[in-house]
């Protein structure tokens, strides 16, 4: 059953790379967006912490 599923009716070479590329780009966007916000908030906390 699993083998049939992975074969995708013989189109595995197109279906899986399509989903792979999609998840890769989305993961890139997610990681970059979260990290950018974290980095900014940490920096802000450090700056505003030292000022008060």
């Amino acid at each position: 059953m699993m083998k049939e599923f992975l074969e995708m009716g013989g189109y595995a070479a197109f279906v899986w790379p399509a989903y792979g590329a999609t998840l890769f780009v989305l993961a890139l966007l997610i990681v970059d967006s979260v990290r950018r916000l974290k980095r900014g908030q940490d920096e802000l906390a450090r700056l505003e912490g030292s000022e008060e």
Binding site: F5, M8, G9, G10, Y11, F14, V15, P17, A18, Y19, A21, T22, V25, L26, L28, L29, I30, D32, S33, V34, R36, L37, R39, G40, Q41, E43, L44, L47, E48
Partner: protein, 243 residues
């Protein structure tokens, strides 16, 4: 750099709103993706002509919708920024650009991977494919233009003008399949007429479209919040340099 935060109508209110909405968008996106991927890859049938390559549609079409939706978001936010001098509009537009570019890349790559088995070629200079490639260049051009100035204010202004002028490409992409004799198929889903797709294939598509939209909203909220924080950091650095 006069763009200090007070000129925002409500950055603090926006931050609170964004913080409240964000978990719902992120949670909704996760659930919709889980359900959507299950429907798309497992539960839905292969197409009688295209076989299992029809599954590529479940990522290709939502990505293309978001590519156009993203650019429209950018153009609207830029219009607000230009007309009402509303700095938050610029930050929203600048946050939407990389996300929209990402979705455009997904639409192009998945389209090519679908075209090879179905059309026998990865690429053809077809009106739809070419105008979507132009859309990608507009996104990248906008991002480059915004960062091409020392003063972020001038970069934002130049970018906003490009975003507005470039918006003309969105209807060209949308109607390219109707205006020109394209290899790419015409729209199969229209809100008015009965969609020309069987529910067993339409359902996964709509769930994946919801997942993409929720993810777009999540990413946009994250990036706008980061942009506001970065803006505050620049203002603090400016104040300390003068102080």
């Amino acid at each position: 750099m006069t763009g200090s935060l007070h000129r925002f109508a409500n950055p603090a209110r926006f931050q609170r709103l964004a913080r409240a909405v964000l978990p719902w968008c992120a949670g909704g996106a996760a659930v919709a993706f889980a359900l959507g991927l299950y429907l798309a890859l497992v539960a839905s049938p292969p197409d009688y002509q295209q076989g299992d390559t029809v599954r590529i549609m479940y990522v290709h079409v939502p990505a293309a919708w978001m590519a156009l939706g993203g650019y429209t978001t950018m153009a609207l936010a830029s219009a607000v920024a230009l007309i009402w001098r509303h700095r938050l509009g610029d930050l929203i537009a600048q946050s939407a650009a990389p996300i929209g570019a990402g979705f455009t890349i997904i639409a192009l790559v998945t389209g090519m991977l679908w075209g090879q088995p179905m059309w026998g070629t990865f690429w053809v200079w077809d009106a739809r494919l070419t105008s979507v490639l132009v859309l990608l260049f507009l996104y990248l051009g906008y991002i480059a233009l915004v960062h091409a100035f020392d003063d972020p204010e001038r970069g934002a202004r130049a970018g906003a003008i490009l975003a507005l002028v470039g918006w003309i490409n969105v209807p060209i992409v949308k109607f390219s399949v109707d205006w020109w004799n394209t290899l790419h198929q015409p729209a199969s889903i229209s809100r008015f007429a009965k969609p020309a797709i069987h529910p067993s294939i339409l359902t996964p598509l709509l769930v994946m479209a919801a997942a993409f939209m929720l993810l777009f909203a999540t990413l946009l909220l994250l990036r706008v919040r980061a942009a506001i924080v970065e803006h505050r950091l620049r203002t603090l650095a400016m104040a300390r340099a003068r102080g």
